[in-house]
Amino acid sequence: MIRLENVEKVYRTDRIETIALSNVSLDVAEGEFVSIMGPSGSGKSTLLHVMGLLDAPTKGSVTLNGRKVESYFDAALAKVRNAELGFVFQTFHLVPDLSVLDNVEVPLLYRGTGGKERRKRAEAALERVGLSARTRHYPSQLSGGQQQRVAIARAIVGAPRILLADEPTGNLDSATGDDVLDLLKDLNTRERCTVVMVTHDERQAAKTHRTVRLFDGRPVS
């Protein structure tokens, strides 16, 4: 499903060269739930961004569903992100001036889905995360856990095959974090959605199929 081969990511400024990922090779199979762990600055988020085609590797190749994507231009990358990937972030990244329903609709806007169909699918996604009663609310009117559920609804509204979650429970208390993790697990189990999750929490990582550990940008066993 996702294959990274000898991926290297180097950030260069005028004076400093920072190696964020070094020689990372990784395979994620369809339907897997993989967690990525490691100390701060170990390259977890960078790895997730490279997998999510938000960042291009300096070296190495990324293959998604059998297609090498390094030759893709902006429009093609955006299309893949829209159709095949769903993102969940630690800080939710909800647009504060849009209602819950409008926030969930965002990915469908870039797919050219009609207004009625968008609404229908956004409502279904919100029902799936247990927030169908909050469609008219604004993010500021919701708790952290509810906001993350909205973000998950937005990530799944386009029925992507891969969910990439960057510390989805990092801003939540443990009980709420467990609820969110259960939701991701449920999506993985019932909808065969491949999930890659960055986490600091060993307890949560233990609930996934496999854990990839990073240290200084390199995978460690």
Partner: protein
């Protein structure tokens, strides 16, 4: 997408309020400039009602050091009429002159004469001049109803006049003005009763102020140099044979000064006078347009700054949109579209105000059609301006790296 962006703009209406107000004020300024341009250049396309080609205007004035002496006003008026008659005869005899007429005020001159009358409770103002019968052929005026005044009007108890369509419409409405008298409020009671002014004909137009002015109500009163009741004209308009060189003016002036020694004369082609008048009209308008353009530049710079800041403030949102499938182009278009939605709202409010302008501009000088054209031009200008202002912040937003944008604090 448009509906989504409209909702976004509407939900952010408080933060967009100042930008919207700025665009609204800009719209109104551009509207004023556009309306002036539309009416001015619209007027320039309208017929002036006479031909200026091969026409020269000669101004007559008393020579320096000469005075009327102690003769009565009537004696002096009689002498002036006689001098003008001699001057016209001398001009007509010159080889190269097709016709010549005496006129109180020539087109495009600096002076103007106006009458104001009450008609059915309405105040009607119109410009006028006085001329001898030959003005018709000198200026090639186009009579559209009735006739031009002529010797047929000699010895009549009225003063013959030809009016423009505008004056005929103002005074007589839909009625045929020919044969009717122009209303006259009359002079002070101690003065003898004035002659009636009888309309004998209507001319298509007589736009004598300048080529950019609107067609105004105007009358040309007949001057009969043998009638003691009429004053002598102080100008001569001369139609020259086509191709007559410019140095003919010198011959004209020399002949006139030899004929009427008490007067001095200056001559200038009517085309030159017209162009000077046009410049006098255009210069303040251009100055106004420059001030408007400068204000627009300030608005544009301010708007660009605000939009730039807005893009920076929304970096994380840009990152999120890129992550969910927006291309760089989508992001740039969104920045421009949002500004255009604010512009559309401001233009709607401004347009509603602007379209009321004809109600407040007196004399029907601004028609609803002109106001509509001005509003449409101003709207186009504002969409272009705000689009340009948003283009650079939009381009910057499109260049934002999605990965960095998502990490932006």
């Amino acid at each position: 997408m448009t509906r989504h962006l409209f909702r976004l703009v509407w939900n952010r209406r408080r933060s967009h309020l100042l930008v919207g107000l700025e665009i609204l004020v800009s719209f109104l300024i551009v509207f004023v400039v556009a309306v002036l341009s539309v009416t001015t250049f619209g007027n320039a396309r309208q017929p002036v009602g006479f031909s200026v080609k091969d026409v020269t205007v000669v101004e007559a004035g008393l020579k320096k050091g000469m005075s009327g002496g102690d003769r009565s006003g009537e004696d002096q008026a009689g002498e002036d009429r006689e001098r003008m008659r001699r001057a016209l005869e001398a001009v007509r005899r010159l080889d190269g002159v097709e016709s010549a007429a005496g006129v109180y005020l020539a087109p495009y001159g600096s002076g103007n004469a106006r009458n104001a009358q009450e008609v059915s409770g309405r105040r009607i103002e119109y410009g006028y001049t006085e001329a001898t019968d030959e003005l018709l052929e000198v200026l090639k005026l186009q009579v559209v109803a009735g006739r031009w005044f002529s010797r047929e009007d000699d010895g009549r108890p009225y003063r013959a006049a030809v009016v423009t369509r505008e004056l005929a419409r103002e005074v007589f409405g839909g009625e045929d003005p020919v044969g009717k008298d122009l209303p006259d409020a009359g002079g002070p009671p101690e003065e003898p009763a004035r002659r009636a002014i009888r309309v004998v004909g209507v001319v298509a137009a007589y736009r004598e102020r300048n080529v950019y002015s609107a067609a105004e109500p105007f009358a040309i009163f007949r001057t009969d140099l043998s009638n003691p009741a009429d004053s002598a004209p102080s100008r001569i308009v001369v139609r020259l044979r086509p191709g007559t060189p410019r140095d003919f003016e010198e011959k004209l002036v020399t002949t006139l000064e030899a004929t009427v020694g008490e007067w001095s004369f200056t001559a200038e082609p009517l085309e030159v006078t017209r162009d000077s008048a046009a410049r006098r009209q255009l210069v303040p308008m251009l100055a106004g347009a420059l001030v408007g353009a400068f204000l627009m530049l300030l608005v544009a710079l301010g708007l660009t700054g605000v939009l730039w800041q807005n893009v920076t403030r929304r970096t994380r949102e840009i990152g999120l949109r890129r992550a969910t499938g927006a291309t760089a182009r989508h992001v740039a278009v969104q920045v421009v579209m949002e500004v255009w939605i604010v512009t559309a709202l401001a233009v709607l409010v401004g347009g509603a105000v602007a379209l009321q302008a004809p109600l407040f501009v007196p004399g029907g000088l601004l028609t609803a059609a002109d106001a509509l054209s001005g509003a449409a031009l101003a709207a186009l200008a504002l969409f272009a301006l705000t689009g340009l202002c948003a283009a650079y912040p939009g381009w910057l937003a499109a260049r934002v790296d999605p990965s960095e944008a998502l990490r932006y604090e």
